[in-house]
Symmetry: C2
Subunit: 303 residues, 2 copies
Amino acid sequence: MSVLVVGSIAFDTIETPFGRSDDTLGGSSTYIALSANYFSDNVNLVGVVGSDFGDQNLRLFQSRDINIDGLQVIEDGKTFRWAGKYHYDMNTRDTLDTQLNVLADFDPVIPHQYQQCKYVCLGNIDPILQRKVLGQISRPKLRICDTMNFWIEGMLDELKKTLEEVDLLVINDSEARELSREPNLVKAARVIRNMGPKILIIKKGEHGALLFTDNGVFAAPAYPLESIYDPTGAGDTFAGGLIGYIAKQDDFSELTLRKGILYGSAMASFCVEQFGPQRLLDLSHLEIEDRFQSFLDLSQIND
Amino acid sequence: MSVLVVGSIAFDTIETPFGRSDDTLGGSSTYIALSANYFSDNVNLVGVVGSDFGDQNLRLFQSRDINIDGLQVIEDGKTFRWAGKYHYDMNTRDTLDTQLNVLADFDPVIPHQYQQCKYVCLGNIDPILQRKVLGQISRPKLRICDTMNFWIEGMLDELKKTLEEVDLLVINDSEARELSREPNLVKAARVIRNMGPKILIIKKGEHGALLFTDNGVFAAPAYPLESIYDPTGAGDTFAGGLIGYIAKQDDFSELTLRKGILYGSAMASFCVEQFGPQRLLDLSHLEIEDRFQSFLDLSQIND
């Protein structure tokens, strides 16, 4: 089934203890789309870039049959740029530079041919824009949303209005605590689910993820990785694998959600193996199935 | 099968954000024995207390058919005392007072009738004493050991000698990093397993536990608890449930270890529901099976 992906597209400059990568293709929707594309053959991108984006990057999406009819290229504009540096433990990072550029005036317009998309993934952008996207989709089956502390701290009321229209929220543990003002994650989940999203996924970084639904809780493990080169985009890659798998199954039963989280985790575990989205460009389906099986083996008990 | 439990027996004074409990029965071997006893009907305790320990506490063990032939009661001696205060997040605590008392001169003597015990659980005590215990057991099938940062920092060489004689080490994540001098847990596990214990369990508190064996890695989830009243003894209760289940099965296959970790986790999740070992005194086997099933449901994917 069709997937609509809306979010940022960026050039990232990334420093980790293992090296540095300048002006690397990035942004939430880039990672979501590249990841979802391994599961769904109908991925539709909405975003904005400047005239500096380059044909090579446009062709990268097109060569993978990702629809970029909704990608606005602003003449004489500059693409959004982000620079960050990861600490030794890879769990924390400092933002060194943010240049919104064309993202500052982003006004998402959903092309007519996208408006029937059944699965909508709202990457981490202004909650007002997220709502504006939802207003243009006629009958979505599932609306997934990501957000971050910047919006929780600065635009809480707008974010809450958006959450009322969302079915599935993906958020990390510190954001969940901040959004709910509740340190205990079980209580936090109850507060957040009352804000709108009936399905809540709380990511815990190297400790896996928790899924909260009407059926209870599911705890997904994180694969204990020996080497992480660059965590940039791991969360978006997770969301992309999840919505891609859901769209492929065309249902969001408990079983599909649980397996979707493991597929998302598998995709994220590939993402961190190289700088930027590099590792997402050359995966085979066999590799993905093998990694999914590793996640299963990691946590399953078979009599 | 028979289980031998050696460790401290204490009176704990515990403060948590939920209240305070004075001179509560505690100590590593108390929690291990009470927990293991739900699985094995042949639990044998070795430890030392003072004449202040009281008949009531002795009868508590006896009434549960825990063998206390190996419990030394020192005339005119005082039982080991510990006092601690948990912070708001329940993950960190300050030790307010430690009075070793009779534990300072503890010399574990294994009664003749214990020497055939097949499953040996060495609670967190001086690694020299742990080795002294092992020297008195004729043919153990499995030797489990716990330790803590105090011994890693102060008696590393002695601890390493003990580890050479141990089959299964249970340790928390910060201790694993300290013992191996390696921040990455996968690498830390390799270093520690090379020190002796072929089976390694790294506890990650509210994030579950990792099992490392020759077969690979298993990630056990922690049940996301809404209310934790007192974490004291949770780690020992985990070890007790684990060795109790292993002794009951009388094998330590990958399947038994995985299920044993979930049973240990289930027992630990009961332990924290009340102050001290209170909750471990009135459990039913049905409650334990239900909680084990909850841990299974939490992490399993069933097509």
